[in-house]
């Protein structure tokens, strides 16, 4: 784990509002596990104040430019422009100075013991699944179910296919792949491969739906969560999520940044998870 001031190697638009950024990151690149993330900040900006968390899309090494310098170990992130921080990121260029802290958090446990491997992702949730898939394909057949509202929310299909992953696309509006929710495809696959293990990352309602399908079938499920984060290392307790057994009387919180972002489904309190965004019922303290 390292906190480095470094430079950007490349920053390219891959589809409207989606960008891939390669960051020179020796000492982070080599340690990164699928499902881990980094805290990122463009060095020039004080606004926004806090670093932003991004999943590690992939790691790798670029050959040196014959300039006598060592090979360039990089971390690559894939981000969607949604607000102030990411709007600033889109303007960055090769050579710009940035700060990166990582690799952070607990990644996916590879359950690559011969069982069917099913990945479920939507939108930007595909990011951590890519690095996971690159690991899993070494020993297993990997299936990826990609869901999205519409054609434009479906990313990286070719990249996954190039890894040898079998991809199934579904969109709510039918503009790409089959029409309907990704869970419809998941149900079919699980009927066929009841012993499969499932890894999921995406919006909360999708994860919820995936959980509702996996739980009665006793399918092993790991999910990667998001949360507002300030520190990324377990120090601020800002990013917690309700753990299994949580109650008002006996609260049980887990740090998304440190105990996650990947959790086994049974570690979480799914009843309350869903309510996360709707909290605020509580009176002022």
């Amino acid at each position: 784990m390292k906190n480095i001031k470094t430079t950007i190697l490349s920053n390219q638009e891959v589809s409207p509002d989606y960008y891939r950024m390669k960051i020179l990151a020796p000492g982070i690149s080599d340690l990164a596990q699928p499902g881990q993330f980094v805290m990122f900040r463009a060095q020039a900006t004080d606004e926004p104040l806090l670093r932003r968390p991004f999943g590690i899309f992939q790691t790798g090494t670029l050959p040196s430019d014959c300039d006598g310098l060592p090979d360039k170990e990089f971390v690559e992130i894939l981000y969607k422009v949604v607000g102030r921080g990411t709007a600033i990121m889109r303007e960055l260029h090769e050579g710009d100075r940035v700060e990166v802290l990582g690799p952070l958090g607990r990644g996916f446990e590879l359950a690559d013991d011969g069982r069917e491997q099913i990945l479920v992702g939507g939108g930007i949730g595909l990011v951590p699944l890519y690095m996971l898939a690159s690991e899993l394909v070494k020993k297993n057949k990997v299936r990826l179910l990609i869901g999205g509202r519409s054609r434009k929310d479906v990313l990286m299909v070719t990249e996954f296919e190039r890894l040898g992953v079998e991809t199934y696309v579904s969109t709510d509006d039918g503009t790409l792949g089959e029409q309907g929710p990704v869970t419809q495809v998941l149900e079919r696959k699980l009927s066929k491969f009841p012993d499969a293990v499932v890894y999921a990352c995406g919006p909360m309602p999708m994860l919820e739906a995936v959980f509702r399908i996996c739980q009665p079938r006793q399918v092993a499920l790991q999910v990667s969560l998001e949360a507002f984060m300030a520190c990324g290392v377990g120090a601020c307790l800002g990013c917690v999520v309700k753990g299994a057994g949580h109650s008002e009387q006996q609260p049980h919180y887990l740090c998304t940044c440190k105990e996650g972002p990947v959790f086994r489904a049974e570690e979480l309190d799914w009843e309350l998870l869903e309510k996360r965004v709707n909290e605020g019922e509580h009176s002022h303290e």
């Binding site: 906190n3 290392v233 120090a235 601020c236 307790l237 917690v240 605020g280 009176s283």
Partner: protein, 316 residues
């Protein structure tokens, strides 16, 4: 370089950053602000904890505390709001699980703590007084998040004095009291706390704020309000530190919006004996180390032999 060439107080390493106050001797005046540095361990992969003047823990209560629902944090301009709700492992788990790690670090440990009632404050103080490895405690009478906790004590001089006297009775190592900025006149509270037996004052905790999610028409924090921290707050914190320094004869630890050595120097020059760094740790885990280095450099540039020569040099 010959020893003879060194001016008093400086060492072969350059200017002397050591500070002494309230019976504490710190190698430099820089320490984390409670709640922004976990129990020390969390940031240890990124820095040498031995380089800090002290380590201040997340606020502890006698029994573990679960904290508030989420979202607990929201970013604002030049700052952030938090309503963690003082989630902590409790004193016993701290001693068992966190303290062993801290013992290995060559840096004094200051335990921040609170209670939800006078009784709880007293019990926690008593329990903490039994722990040898603690160099000092910092009494949080100022947390704005807990309904029956801090705010009641920290905004009323009588209540503040009462809790400080009680804790004083149970605890004979250095007792630092941390004040809230959510008051009309902080010097009134500072004087009450001084008379009640505090050894030092930390100034300031967060300022209560509210941020609104305009689409959902809900507060952005589940708790409603939260505590504002970060550089936005700094002018307020520097003002209050200066006021308190003028009003009492206790040493003061300055805290609020320190991001850089320059920011830390504002507090020291205004009269603080040490500084705490909070939100800046999130922005850059190297912040405190950079501040320590920057203080040394500033002393060099200004030709002062030791940082203590700068303390309280503000001419208003």
């Amino acid at each position: 370089m010959s020893e003879m060439l060194l001016s008093a107080g400086s060492t072969a390493d350059g200017p002397d950053l050591a500070v002494e106050f309230a019976g504490l001797r710190l190698k430099n005046p820089v320490m984390p602000a409670s709640g922004t540095f976990g129990y020390g361990e969390e940031y240890s992969p990124y820095m040498d904890l031995n380089r800090l003047g002290a380590i201040v823990t997340k606020g502890l209560s006698l029994r573990p505390k679960a904290g508030n629902p989420t979202p607990r944090i929201a970013e604002t301009n030049g700052g952030m709001l938090n309503a963690i709700g003082l989630q902590n492992v409790g004193v016993d788990a701290f001693v068992e699980q966190k303290l062993p790690f801290l013992k290995e670090v060559q840096t004094p440990v200051i335990v921040n703590f609170f209670g939800n009632s006078l009784e709880e404050y007293g019990q926690a103080a008593q329990r903490l007084s039994q722990i040898d490895e603690i160099a000092a405690v910092e009494l949080n009478i100022s947390c704005p998040n807990v309904k029956r906790g801090g705010i009641v004590f920290g905004t009323d001089p009588g209540a503040a004095a009462e809790v400080v006297s009680l804790v004083r009775r149970h605890f004979n190592k250095p007792l630092i009291v941390k004040l809230t900025p959510n008051v009309t006149d902080i010097t009134v509270i500072a004087r009450a706390v001084e008379e009640a037996g505090a050894d030092a004052i930390s100034c300031i905790n967060t300022l209560t704020g509210l941020a609104v999610d305009i689409r959902r028409r809900r507060p952005r924090l589940a708790n409603g309000t939260g505590g504002l921290s970060g550089p936005a707050l700094r002018p307020l914190a520097v003002r209050m530190v200066y006021q308190v320094v003028q009003a009492v004869s206790l040493p003061v630890i300055g805290v609020g919006g320190i991001m850089s050595a320059e920011d830390a120097l504002e507090f020291l020059i205004a009269g603080a004996h040490a500084v705490q760094v909070g939100t800046a740790n999130f922005v850059d885990p190297a912040a405190m180390i950079n501040i320590v280095d920057g203080l040394k450099q500033f002393c060099q540039e200004e030709g002062v032999a030791g940082i203590s020569e700068l303390i309280g040099t503000l001419r208003c």
